[in-house]
């Protein structure tokens, strides 16, 4: 009970971030379903409303995944290094204020550039939205970015304080043979170091292009190179979105090793894989610009080649590691471990359409189709989301005595099948050349969109059941808190 009491107190902020993220994810699914229903011809939606929803859906999903992922990472990293709670809270406050600004910008001032806010679109809306809407959206995003930047500065500080340098956090001294594998930093620290490095770079690039856009919106006479802007935007977007899985994967290492009672070893191949991913994640973003013929050719070729290499190191090491740690371990499958294991499938299978699309000749045909949303719905929907909800089940199990029931297991199956339905519908749409980001579809494209919408409704229902379990845990926590307080004061 003593250990649980300490955990409960420390988990307050983590729990708050998780529940906010969970609710936001379900709310964003609702927008996704509405868009698919409109594309499927089931409901009528104005083009303006569609693009506003597209903007909020993309922004909200990545924001919620990042918020939840950072909570997972923070929770486990805090076991090994001394993190600042104040900074963690500051990030949440910046996030909430930023989200309010974004929502007002989108729905009250009709801002609808998509999450990419691709220069010069924020300033050139052809009357679809005005300066205030653009400034609210861009300012909100900047504030969210500042909060995350503070958070990763703090994780970097804490890692350097404990391990000496970010290189040592990645285990370079072990790779170099100066230290034995037994003294290597834990998997959670290695992953967090990688995320710290890539996200500080991403957020700095993102802040720069956001400020450039803000200046351009305020004074359109001040312009800048659109290709530079696109590079900065995708350097930020790719790395930041990608990092959500690297943050949440910490839960896989920690939860599966606890469930199987086997340590997840930071051996040399593991450390080399994470160092490779640190570099590759930062330089692979040109695969988003393969259709920009004005980009230097060598960068585009690099984008293709590195994309093949990017996913493999950590993905293979982690997926293979997950299989090995489970193999003949006698693991008792429960919701946390099952969701973690499922996330390995989502991550692995979700990466495949991306690798296909990163091939230049395929990209020229597929990139502007729904094939790409097919990739990231599979990758994020069955990867990051499974990790986050798996962690929520883990926390509930670890901190309280509430049990999962048949509904949770039913929701697991529904979630798996329906998320495959959503992703599959996008991939099929891509295969039949359905363009993405189109508010309306011709009849031939409508079938998969309708299937995706109905699958999306089931995903929302399944995730709601997951959330209900977490809310049950919150209720138990709330009742337990007075006891916790007294325990801390030494009264019991």
């Amino acid at each position: 009970m003593g250990a649980n009491t300490v955990l409960k107190t420390r988990n307050n902020q983590v729990v708050l971030q998780l529940i906010i993220s969970g609710v936001v994810i379900v709310a964003m699914i609702v927008f996704g379903v509405i868009m698919l229903l409109a594309q499927g011809g089931v409901i009528e939606l104005s083009a303006a409303a569609f693009y506003q929803m597209l903007t909020i859906h993309g922004t909200g999903m990545i924001g919620a995944a990042a918020l939840a992922g950072s909570a997972v990472m923070w929770y486990f990293l805090d076991h090994y290094v001394n993190l600042s709670k104040k900074i963690f809270n500051t990030n949440l406050i910046c996030f909430l204020i930023g989200v309010v600004m974004v929502i007002i910008g989108v729905f009250s001032f009709e801002y609808a550039s998509g999450w990419t806010f691709l220069y010069p679109l924020p300033a050139l809306s052809a009357g679809a939205w005005g300066t205030v809407g653009a400034l609210l959206y861009l300012g909100g995003m900047l504030l969210i970015g500042v909060g995350f930047l503070l958070l990763f500065i703090d994780t970097g500080r804490a890692i350097i304080q404990k391990y000496g340098s970010l290189g040592k956090g990645l285990g370079w001294d072990v790779i170099a043979g100066k230290k034995s594998e037994l003294d290597a930093p834990p998997a959670a620290v290695v992953a967090s170091t990688m995320v710290t490095i890539v996200n500080i770079s991403a957020l700095t690039a993102g802040a720069t292009v956001l400020v450039m856009n803000i200046i351009n919106v305020v004074n359109p006479a001040i312009t800048f190179d659109p290709l530079l802007a696109k590079n900065l935007t995708y350097a930020f977007g790719h790395i930041f979105a990608n990092s959500t899985i690297y943050m949440a994967v910490v839960a896989v290492y920690e939860i599966l090793s606890r469930a199987t009672n086997r340590p997840w070893k930071s051996n040399k191949p593991f450390l080399i894989a994470w160092t490779s991913s640190t570099i590759l994640t930062m330089i692979v973003y040109p695969h988003h610009l393969l259709m920009d013929s004005v980009m230097p050719k060598w960068i585009l070729v690099m984008g293709q080649v590195l994309s093949y290499a990017n996913g493999l190191p950590v993905l293979i090491i982690t997926a293979y590691g997950a299989l090995m740690i489970v193999y003949k371990s006698g693991i008792k499958w429960e919701m946390p471990s099952a969701l973690m294991f499922l996330s390995m499938f989502g991550w692995t299978s979700g990466a495949i359409p991306a690798i296909v699309d990163a091939t230049i000749v395929v990209n020229h045909v597929m990139h502007n189709t729904k094939w790409v949303p097919g990739h990231f719905h599979l990758y994020m929907g069955l990867g990051v989301v499974a990790m986050v909800f798996g962690f929520m089940y883990y926390l509930a199990k670890n901190d309280s005595s509430i049990q999962t029931n048949g509904m949770d297991r039913f929701a697991f199956v529904v979630y798996l099948l329906s998320m495959l339905g959503v992703s599959g519908s996008f991939l099929v749409s891509g295969a039949i050349s359905t363009p993405r980001r189109f508010a309306t579809h011709i009849p031939e494209w409508m079938g998969p969109a309708q299937f995706g919408a109905y699958s999306g409704i089931l995903v929302a229902l399944a995730l709601s059941i997951f959330i209900i379990h977490f809310v049950r845990y919150l209720v138990v926590r709330r009742k337990a808190l007075p006891t916790t307080g007294r325990a801390q004061q030494g009264m019991i």
């Binding site: 500065i153 350097i160 400020v211 800048f224």
Partner: protein, 188 residues
């Protein structure tokens, strides 16, 4: 004491009319040599000032935040092309430059030791992106930003800012990958 005298001498040298005219003759020297030297003079003179008035600084700049905020505001003001332009006209703005920048230097000295690692890192990264952005602004501006300096000069200044940004990135990289084990101070 030596530092204070050194700072005073530097300040006086910078205040000689010939030095002022020379340092303000080129935009890049004005922004990237004269202004930093005035800050340095303030930083050096600050050694004595801080010793003389420790209570004042403890009361008004206890954790270094208010001081560094003042520094940021002063430096942001002096990054504006218009501010440089007005200083060239002489008079009050030039006088303000010779007062505000040494004050910024003084507060950098007082605040930097008081700020915690997160605060220092945030300020550093903030200036890093700000310098990068100023570099872009001066290089890419389609119009002449100052009445007193040509477009070519503002492009040179842009490259100067970019060089500083690059140097800051290199410093940051060596700092975070250098081994800090066993050191009492924290990185940055």
């Amino acid at each position: 004491m030596k530092q204070m005298i050194g700072g005073g001498i530097l300040f006086l040298l910078l205040g000689i009319p010939f030095t002022i005219v020379f340092l303000e003759s080129m935009m890049v020297i004005h922004m990237l040599v004269q202004i930093p030297l005035l800050i340095l003079a303030g930083w050096l003179m600050g050694a004595g000032v801080l010793q003389k008035f420790p209570r004042f600084f403890a009361n008004w700049n206890g954790n270094g935040v208010s001081g560094i905020l003042l520094v940021s505001i002063i430096l942001m003001y002096w990054m504006l092309p218009r501010a440089m332009d007005e200083a060239l006209l002489g008079g009050w703005i030039e006088l303000f430059k010779f007062i505000s920048l040494p004050v910024a230097g003084l507060f950098i000295r007082d605040s930097w030791t008081k700020l915690k690692t997160n605060g220092k890192s945030f300020v550093f990264l903030n200036f890093l992106s700000m310098f990068g952005l100023m570099g872009w602004l001066y290089m890419d501006a389609p119009i002449q930003l100052c009445n007193n300096y040509l477009e070519l000069e503002q492009k040179a200044l842009g490259w100067g800012f970019l060089a500083i940004t690059l140097a800051m990135i290199l410093y940051l990289l060596q700092n975070v990958f250098m081994d800090h084990s066993g050191r009492e101070h924290e990185p940055l």
